[in-house]
């Protein structure tokens, strides 16, 4: 009866697969440890809002990550200088992949 109904739109972005059961344990949109901003969800990097050497404040958006067609702003959880950018727009990242390193 429900066959014509497709619940997930076909998507060019990603097949988000992470932990065996899905998305448990994700506190928000990012996991940030020791200045390394890591992907908390799988997705495609859309845009990078900073350059190496830029100084950011806590809460500044450093990049956007598209997951399930949602453009998630990824924020710095500490202030500092951008030391390294590990990804480029269009790159698909998995949970735990490093995105940006803040000094």
């Amino acid at each position: 009866m429900l066959s014509p109904i497709t619940t997930v739109q076909s998507t060019t972005t990603a097949t988000p697969v992470s932990t065996p059961t899905g998305v448990s344990g994700i506190p928000g949109s990012t996991t940030e440890v020791g200045g390394v901003i890591k992907a908390a969800m799988p997705g495609t990097v859309m845009s990078i809002k900073v350059k190496v050497g830029d100084v950011v404040k806590e809460g500044d958006v450093v990049l956007t990550l598209e997951t399930m067609k949602m453009e998630n702003p990824i924020k710095a959880n500490k202030g500092g200088k951008i030391k390294e950018i590990k990804v480029q727009p269009g790159k698909f990242v998995n949970v735990g992949d490093p995105l940006i390193v803040i000094e």
């Binding site: 109904i5 497709t6 619940t7 997930v8 697969v17 899905g22 998305v23 448990s24 928000g28």
Partner: protein, 521 residues
């Protein structure tokens, strides 16, 4: 023995019973950062309200030198009292005597309290701190667990059962909490698992610590076994009191109504600003929840587990409601295995205890992938539909933005028996998202396009057409699937009125007689 001597003997025995495993063991308990069973009960109950029973129960094991290790109470303190004036029954395991281990008589004390709580129609609170089965007592301790489990099940859906894990809880012992309604775990001092790190290492060669395997955070974030993780015993006790304030004493009563001082007709202008019109922009659905319900009353449950869904209790014009919402900030708010389990269980908890449901919908669908499909997202996702359909409490739904496909149906749609469905002007109620829909509907037209630019041009045009025609609340409102389209700021007064209208709800459609339904698990 004279009368005075008899009375004195009782006083002495009472003093002995109070000591549990002895002063030295009590100090050890404190050094471990834990309160004793009696201290915990004292904190939990209104001052002077605790009435203890079975203080003089002792075990009757004569093997392995156990006849020499016998203290009054047998490592568990049981009784009843009040919390903010409301009756509760309580048991607290006493780790200071033989590690709080559970034997025949220890179990009998607990089952007696369970029976009393069920007869009285009063919540039961368990404060667990036990090394597990008392091996010396053999299968008598197993029978003890079984008797406790059976009563957990009999009491399920009749009286609230809240269990705090405030020490070890391993092996079969985990299943009594698991059968209860809510589990609270204390960080660093408590853990729960079926088999400990030693057996894990021996059986499958995996190295893992107690904390990683079964600590409070492991269960609050990953397994979903614990509804709350707290930092210490005091925090744990306070949380139990707060949780209880949202629950009725039994399934024949409503939760206590509290005057919150928040006007029922309050309109929050800021609500108009929270949900972006652009469906690609996320937001924190808790900002919506906090503005709609009585100020400061939203009490989130399982906040770290499956954060793509948000559940919790709140008050609406003083009345307790159960809140369920998709969280667009995490995985676009899609449903998956864990969020389905989280929602379904909560819906049933609310329904069992006469707590009306308010559901906020912004769901693009289900999380795709082999992990989800092979993990049984079909089976788990079915629970949400089952739980909502079965629930007979008032069911109110607010569609904030996306309500696509199966996700739309599952999230307490009109079709599953929602009493009122409201939609915001930003709502997009459709069989699927515009991009996906046009790929299917206009496949042949898209195939004709020769260049990627042309594809994009056609796609953009068709998406815009589809969006304006179908991705809105009016198609559903035309059909009566949505009862009213409302401004975001009108949500609170509309929900208050809807709840009032449905406060006397009776399910008029008789349901066929059956032993019980066969919910997918």
């Amino acid at each position: 023995m004279s009368l005075i001597e008899k009375f004195k003997e009782l006083e002495e025995n009472r003093a002995k019973a109070k000591l549990g495993g002895g002063q030295e063991a009590i100090e050890k308990q404190h050094k471990a950062g834990k309160l004793t069973a009696r201290e915990r009960i004292e904190l939990l109950l209104d001052p002077g309200s605790f009435v203890e029973i079975d203080s003089f129960v002792v075990h009757r094991c004569y093997d392995f030198g156990m006849e020499k290790r016998r203290v009054f109470g047998d490592a568990v303190v049981t009784g009843y009292g009040t919390i903010n004036g409301r009756k509760v029954f309580v048991y607290a395991q006493d780790f200071t005597f033989i590690g709080g281990s559970l034997g025949e008589m220890h179990a009998k004390k607990i089952t007696k309290i369970q029976d009393m709580a069920l007869k009285a129609g009063v919540p039961i609170i368990g404060l667990n701190d036990s090394g597990g089965a008392r091996i010396q007592e053999g299968i008598a301790s197993l029978s003890g667990y079984g008797e406790i489990f059976y009563r957990n099940v009999m009491a399920s859906g009749v009286i609230p059962q809240i269990i705090a894990i405030m020490g070890p809880c391993a092996g079969g012992a985990v299943y009594s909490p698991a059968l209860a309604d809510f589990i609270i775990m204390v960080r660093k001092t408590s853990y729960m698992f079926i088999t400990g790190p030693k057996v894990v290492k021996a059986a499958i060669g995996e190295d893992v610590t107690f904390e990683t395997l079964g600590g409070a955070d492991a269960h609050a974030k990953l397994s979903g076994v614990a509804h709350f993780a707290v930092d210490n015993d005091e925090e744990c006790i306070n949380l139990i009191k707060k949780l209880l304030s949202y629950l009725p004493s039994n399934n024949m009563e409503d939760p206590p109504v509290v005057e919150t001082g928040d006007p029922p007709d309050r309109m929050d202008e800021e609500l108009n600003e929270i949900v972006p019109a652009d469906p690609k922009k996320p937001y924190d659905v808790r900002d919506v929840i906090n503005r709609v319900f009585d100020r400061g009353t939203f009490f989130e449950i399982q906040s770290q587990f499956a954060p793509n869904a948000v559940i919790g209790f709140a008050r609406l014009n003083g009345r307790v409601v159960g809140v369920v919402a998709n969280q667009p900030m995490v995985y676009a708010g899609c449903l998956d295995i864990d969020s389905s389990d989280k929602i379904a269980r909560f819906v049933r908890t609310c329904d069992a205890f006469n707590i009306p449901l308010v559901t906020f919908v912004d769901v693009p669908g289900y999380l795709p992938g082999t992990k989800q499909e092979h993990g049984g997202v079909i089976r788990h996702g079915a629970k949400v539909i089952f739980a909502y359909s079965e629930a007979t409490v008032p069911k109110l739904t607010v569609i904030l933005r996306k309500a696509y496909g199966g996700g739309y149906i599952a999230m307490c749609s009109k079709h599953l028996g929602a009493d009122f469905v409201f939609a915001w002007p930003t709502a997009e109620i459709a069989v699927m998202g515009p991009e996906g829909a046009i790929e299917i509907i206009h496949k042949s037209e898209l195939m004709k396009a020769k260049t990627p630019e042309e594809v994009k041009e056609i796609t953009d045009r068709l998406v815009a057409e589809y969006r304006s025609k179908f991705a809105n609340p009016y198609v559903a409102a035309n059909l009566g699937y949505v009862d009213q389209v409302i401004l975001p700021k009108e949500t609170r007064p509309m929900l208050v009125k809807a709840l009032d209208a449905m406060s006397t709800k009776r399910e008029i459609q008789p349901r066929p007689p059956k032993r019980h339904a066969n919910m997918p698990v």
